[in-house]
Symmetry: D2
Subunit: 291 residues, 4 copies
């Protein structure tokens, strides 16, 4: 398939690589050009403008936040103006429900097709094609992209014809992950201050009720207080919980744990934790306990 | 081994049954006598007073709360007064850290031995000897009880010589479970109010990041709003989070998620949910969202 | 002075009336025209378009929310396009800090002057010229408007040259009021469930530590459960706490009580309380206590 | 009247002084004797044992916490054992509702009379007889003590025959004060980080909606960050919010703001703030905002 791929950050680079390996013809674009060159060695064409990545059947975006997606789509020379009729835009970034709805309307207006397909997984999962992909949009369009999804992920879910549904599921998943981090952080502060070995405690948890990589990985980071380099940086976590609360506010759904997580992440960033992994909110629990 | 077993509730009955099956000589005691009779058919001797269950090498208690344990141990004719020198008391109930410390001191004063060995698992796990057992106390005493633990559980952990450590780990584990319930409840309210199928959403979660029975089971209860009969009733959950906060307060460890869970469980009980499973706190998230 | 006054809701009608009484020449505009007619009887000219209210030295806006202000200022035929060079726009609505900053920039660009001057006080205070007015903007412009402020309020404060400062102070004041309501509601639930007379309790509080109309008035509403008609409706409170949190998020200031208030107000609205006074969040405390 | 007065801390010393000034015959007792000597100069008899302060018509206790009261009443040689039939015990300490109920029962059993009469006011108010006194107990007994209350306070309230009612009202009042401190602390962090002068902001608040000494005094401490010497130390605040939550838990009343305050005070103490005034929780809001 002839593809455009926009956004070569820690996630996007791995995903584009896997599309190339699967034999697709990929034109890549990144705001800063260094990253695109690396993919060129693997056979990618390198676009110097967004519009050059839009001469394709399908354009994939994997960007850091709502502003970036908005700009790449709506700006002069953006996807909306540059892509042809019938082109499929797959938005794989974690963006807000409101923006997703606006994209759906705009693409329909331009007779283009829009799929929301955000992913679960950290950069290593992107590199090894082990992502979980949550898609929503017109059924035929999603089916047509199946080969792309299998090149990038280990499992794909279809949430129905409304793209924002996929974004909401993604956001709520990140909320669940953050709540695991916060709860583990509080429990670890308790256990640690009582003088019990935190590693033993974590092994106990993850060999019984919580025998799953998520708890093992984040639990390990918390016990070792290893928050750098960030797999998922605090400001991104703050953004995602903010988007979750915005969607919840719009739908009139109070989420007290999400509110608490937002305050925690805000505190982390305000205290200088911009560069830390979001699991560093556990260090606030420790500090508040005088540890 | 010659055992006394005190407390034949939903958990204790299964545990005592498994000890009998493993060939131990068990004298059982329960405040209301009906339950003891059932075990009699399996070969248990039935005591009509606590003291009659204390003529044993080891006395196990599995009771509903601190008050019950306190009464069975410290009252006239209780374990402390009735058991002989060297007798081991294994306290398997979920009790507070403070009471555990007092029991350790009192038994030492009476030249008896004390092990705290609370368990993870619901009644079905107790019946099928699939409990996880978290023990702490003098090493030799715990080792001597290994055959009993294997008769009742699938895995045993040793937390060191201080009994309260095992109780704190148990409490913090229940805190983690409750926080999973609360977070799932909030996420389900969000997803449900957005018109997305909750069962599909749960399947997605539990076939990816949260592929573990805990999330499947509680997620299922939440989606089906099936809170009766209670596997673990709301007042017990309230008690446990209360004991967690008491221990945290004593240690000077703030736990905001635990505070929030305490308020949720208090609300559930105040609104008439005494007989419901503690996962019914999710129904408060739904109600607060107008669902 | 020759004035335009836009927005004749429960607050604006009283304010415009007081300006007329003070002898100013006022052209009023309201989206629905009924309210303007009442002021016509008092000597106001009635504009049928926003632009007709902009042929004035000073244009005052008193509208329900950010969207309304934005539309009245930026739309075709809005204040920005219609008012002459040097015209002063006094924004007295409770709006967000971000919008206030945008208005300051836009008016400067059009060589108009901008003052933010939100008010404290409920409709009765607006009617009786007892408002507290919090102003910010270029000093000379604010001084020039002093006669207008004294016609509408009992006291004026000047916060400096940056308009958004006045808006932030107003928002944070509403946050403090909401936190008084919430705390009183929780205390009343406690006192009431204990069987103590709530009115006696309120009298005790307000004749000692809390001897101030705010506590007396809201305390009275809470004790009498009198939430209709709404002096300040729940959706407006929700909006204001939302704007407070938005400003706090932008500045990286965690405010856990504000987060809790947001969840409360969201719950109130989700459960059907759209038409109730925001003090009805106290009814949630009562309901959660099973009262 | 012939009085015993037990507890000469910062509050008790002033209160006992005022009773002496009013002409009562007072025998004072304090655990550490230095403070009693100072009162001796004013005409007090100094008891070296609790029992010596109980040969009186009325015995007043003003102690730091539940444990101290419990010990002074129930220990060998305590009030219960030492005071004669008909003696009135006025408990003016801030104690828990549960202890108050136990004291009522115990004194009734000993044919003594029990009044709960906790006070509002800081040490300066105790010294200047400006306390507010909240009483409950048998009407005749309270009436008989009226001269004592007027010697110590500016105003007295009667809450009915059940002593715990007075204690609950006192605790809920401290909860309201703490919630004012927390809200002001959050608002000040917001205002301060926005670069607005905090003193100007406080003056604005306290000359309008919050024109009351409580807001002025605590607001001043927060703006000046003056938390030493402590008028009311953090551990006492933690104890009182803990007692409030205990009473609320017993009555099944969720109080989310109280839970939040408990976490704040716990954090303050855990981080080393034992000696600070409880208003220092505002420094946590500032620190969490990176100020």
């Amino acid at each position: 398939m002839k593809l455009g791929f926009i956004g070569l950050g820690r996630m996007g680079a791995g995903m584009a690589t896997n599309l190339l390996k699967a034999g697709h013809e990929v034109t890549v674009y990144n705001r800063s050009s260094g990253k695109a060159q690396a993919l060129s060695a693997l056979g990618a064409s390198v676009a110097t403008r967004v519009s050059d990545a839009c001469r394709a059947e399908t354009v994939i975006t994997m960007l850091a936040n709502d502003d970036a997606v908005q700009s790449v789509v709506f700006d002069d020379g953006g996807i909306l103006a540059s892509a042809g009729t019938g082109t499929v835009h797959i938005s794989m970034s974690t963006i807000g429900v409101g923006l997703s709805a606006r994209l759906a309307v705009a693409h329909a207006g331009a007779r283009q097709r829009f799929i929301a397909a955000p992913v679960f997984g950290r950069p290593e999962a992107a590199a090894s094609a082990q992502l979980y992909i949550v898609s929503a949009g017109e059924r035929a369009a999603v089916d047509g992209c199946a080969p792309l999804f299998s090149a990038m992920g280990q499992k794909m879910f279809y949430l129905g014809v409304e793209p924002p549904a996929a974004n909401l599921v993604k956001l709520s998943g990140n909320f669940l992950i953050a709540s695991v981090i916060e709860s583990l952080g509080e429990a670890m502060a308790l256990i640690g201050k009582a003088g019990i070995d935190q590693r033993t405690y974590l092994d106990l948890l993850t060999s019984t009720l919580f025998n799953v990589p998520l708890y093992k990985n984040y639990g390990g980071l918390i016990v070792e207080r290893k928050f750098e380099p960030a797999g998922f940086a605090a400001p991104l976590g703050l953004k995602d919980i903010g988007l979750t609360l915005a969607a919840a506010g719009e739908l009139r759904v109070p989420m007290p744990v999400a509110s608490l997580l937002h305050d925690r992440l805000l505190t982390l960033v305000a205290r200088g934790g911009e560069a830390l992994d979001w699991s560093a909110i556990s260090s606030l629990s420790a500090a508040d306990a005088g540890l």
